[in-house]
Symmetry: C2
Subunit: 396 residues, 2 copies
């Protein structure tokens, strides 16, 4: 292999698609208006904003008025949870989520616990799945919100969101109360169907940089009639639901990226699934004491996650980086942390084993040749690491 | 004049500087990493993030650790106020602000009033100024936060922030309590000194698109030791003060734009002040019944704001737009609204007169030729509008 970098960390972030950049560039040069201005320069920006919203709403199968632009997935998740809680705190104080959510949801739930709310963190099975019946049982006459992610960012496990949404709506009807169903779908675009009707959700979060769009922009789908109060106040943008001058270039880029991700979904999914399975089979046949994390079939086409016995994740990542391969031990957000992944612990994995995890997340530009190079490099690396005296053994 | 647009709405938003775009482009193409990733691609992004923070902290005269990146001025203002209130609610429930703040501050204050806090909205004098003695008198033994903007976005009036900060700190010391001083400095870059030490503030908000940077990115300066709690939770970015994958291209662009704005400050200020005064004198000599809003000397070099008797602002804007001139009636955020500006009302202006306001905000690319064209077009337009039967007269 040459000096080229092999990037296998697409769940951390993705390269910007050159067609997305092309769509953004006019809005980073001559079309610079503020969409709130009534003059021509402002109205050009307003038009770009409206067109982006229309394009996105077609893919989400929703009304244009149901799309609220944000600064990313973390803001969307925070705003979803806090906004519902603000709107429904008079009717109940119970929230249901899962133990394997992204920290944007989990840390917000912990904040809400400190503010007096009661949060149920549903456990997952060994493959990281939550059953609709678990949600059904957890709902009480104080429940106001259920937030379950569509696909997990570390292990790629896909949750049965349509079935969970159905259970939530049925129970809400039986209890004659309003329960909002939110899903963090940040890892889904390009791989899963994003129809909000099929998913049956009231709210859904997306982040553009996870699907070859720009960083710093995302969206929150808020179905009409969903009780929710705005979190960022000021100039009344986004129909008073998210104040602040709109990031036009970012929004145009996100719309273009979502169009591309959606239109290329089947081809890219098949391509990534082929490479994914080649990696999984390769590791299972070449490297002893390697445990595949996550579900075997209900899994994002681009996700590989293994735990390796007797070694830590960080030296694996550093070794791969030396070999020109970009990978991750879990979520990018927690990379600096020495804590074992909360997701792997929730699967019932020991802290020791969870510390030896490796996530490889593929994209459409990855090739079979890259996979074969990875398999050789990884095999050699794990073998060498296992022969080195471990930190704990040598007493450092 | 040819078909070229004359843009005089720089307080609404500014064109992106081509040198800023140039700095951003690598981060919208090959340098796409997530700074939280420990591999080389992520670490390249981390380096760009660190360098941007260093550059900005030099201009703010602060530590790099005191700069928190946000999605813009509105988020910064919201987060500043809510974060202080969350941290200090045990020690007091009183907030001081002014009647002419941006809605990002005012609407957050109204939200906090609904949550049980007591807010003093200090009145301003006819020129839009607040005196330090007003702040001094308003501080009580329940005060936790003072938020006064550095320069007003509609009328350009500059507040004596160093003196106000001094009063706040002196009173806090005398009362043996913590009172946080925040300033919304969104309109200041490129025109005013941003030294946080000279300003004496604990917190300061900026928005990149107001100084020829990109939309969708801003910052909050938080002086070390300031009691404040994070508002956006998740992946622990920005030293756990603002979670969410960093908008690297936007942050790099903001840093470059701030460097340029600061280094060109004297030249651009002098250029704009010359044009500003030419407009003010031109209007005062050519157009009867025109009232200059704001201070005559303590005023942003690029701000002109007039109220014209007997006419409304909207037809002025539409007429100017037809003549190829982009202007505003007040803040861009309130452009769609038929309400008279809260800022002009706070000056003691009647609602009728306030409805006939025009804001012209200049930038470095505006020319004397453009100003002369504007003065002719505006003079003709106001004359014609005053001869038309008003909407109220004809009973529509």
């Amino acid at each position: 292999m040459d000096d080229r970098i092999i990037y296998m960390d697409h769940s951390g972030t993705t390269p910007l698609d050159s067609r997305v950049l092309e769509a953004m560039l006019p809005h980073l040069s001559q079309m610079f208006g503020n969409p709130s201005s009534i003059h021509s320069v402002g109205q050009d920006a307003k038009r770009a904003l409206d067109e982006s919203r229309e394009s996105i709403s077609r893919i989400l199968g929703c009304r244009t008025s149901e799309v609220v632009f944000t600064s990313g997935g973390t803001e969307s998740d925070n705003a979803a949870l806090r906004g519902v809680v603000d709107a429904l705190r008079q009717t109940g104080d119970h929230i249901i989520t899962s133990a394997i959510e992204h920290h944007a949801v989990l840390h917000t739930c912990q904040y809400l616990e400190n503010a007096g709310f009661d949060v149920t963190y549903l456990p997952v099975d060994y493959h990281g799945r939550i059953g609709p019946e678990q949600v059904q049982k957890a709902i009480t006459d104080r429940t106001i919100l259920v937030s379950i992610m569509l696909a997990n960012n570390e292990i790629g496990t896909i949750q049965p969101i349509p079935e969970i949404s159905q259970v939530v709506h049925d129970r809400a009807q039986a209890l004659e109360r309003t329960i909002v169903m939110h899903t963090d779908a940040v890892q889904a675009p390009g791989y899963l169907d994003l129809s909000t009707k099929r998913l049956g959700v009231n709210m859904l979060s997306l982040s553009a940089h996870k699907f070859r769009g720009p960083k710093g922009v995302g969206l929150l789908f808020i179905k009409r009639g969903t009780p929710w109060l705005p979190q960022q106040l000021g100039g009344s943008q986004e129909r008073e639901r998210r104040s602040g001058t709109e990031n036009i270039a970012g929004i145009v880029g996100m719309a273009k990226a979502l169009e591309l991700a959606d239109s290329e979904r089947e081809v890219v999914s098949a391509h990534c699934a082929g490479l994914r399975d080649r990696i999984i089979k390769g590791i299972q046949s070449k490297i002893p004491d390697a445990h595949l994390n996550g579900h075997t079939t209900e899994r994002l086409p681009n996700n590989v996650n293994f735990s390796f016995e007797q070694i830590e994740g960080e030296p694996i990542l550093l070794g791969l980086d030396m070999a020109g391969i970009c990978a991750s031990s879990g979520s990018a957000c927690s990379s600096g942390s020495l804590e074992p992944s909360h997701v792997l612990l929730a699967l019932g994995q020991s802290a020791d084993l969870a510390r030896g995890s490796l996530r490889l997340t593929l994209g459409k530009d990855n090739t079979a040749e890259e996979v074969d190079y990875l398999l050789t490099a990884l095999g050699d690396l794990i073998h060498r690491l296992r022969q080195m005296p471990s930190l704990s053994t040598t007493g450092f």
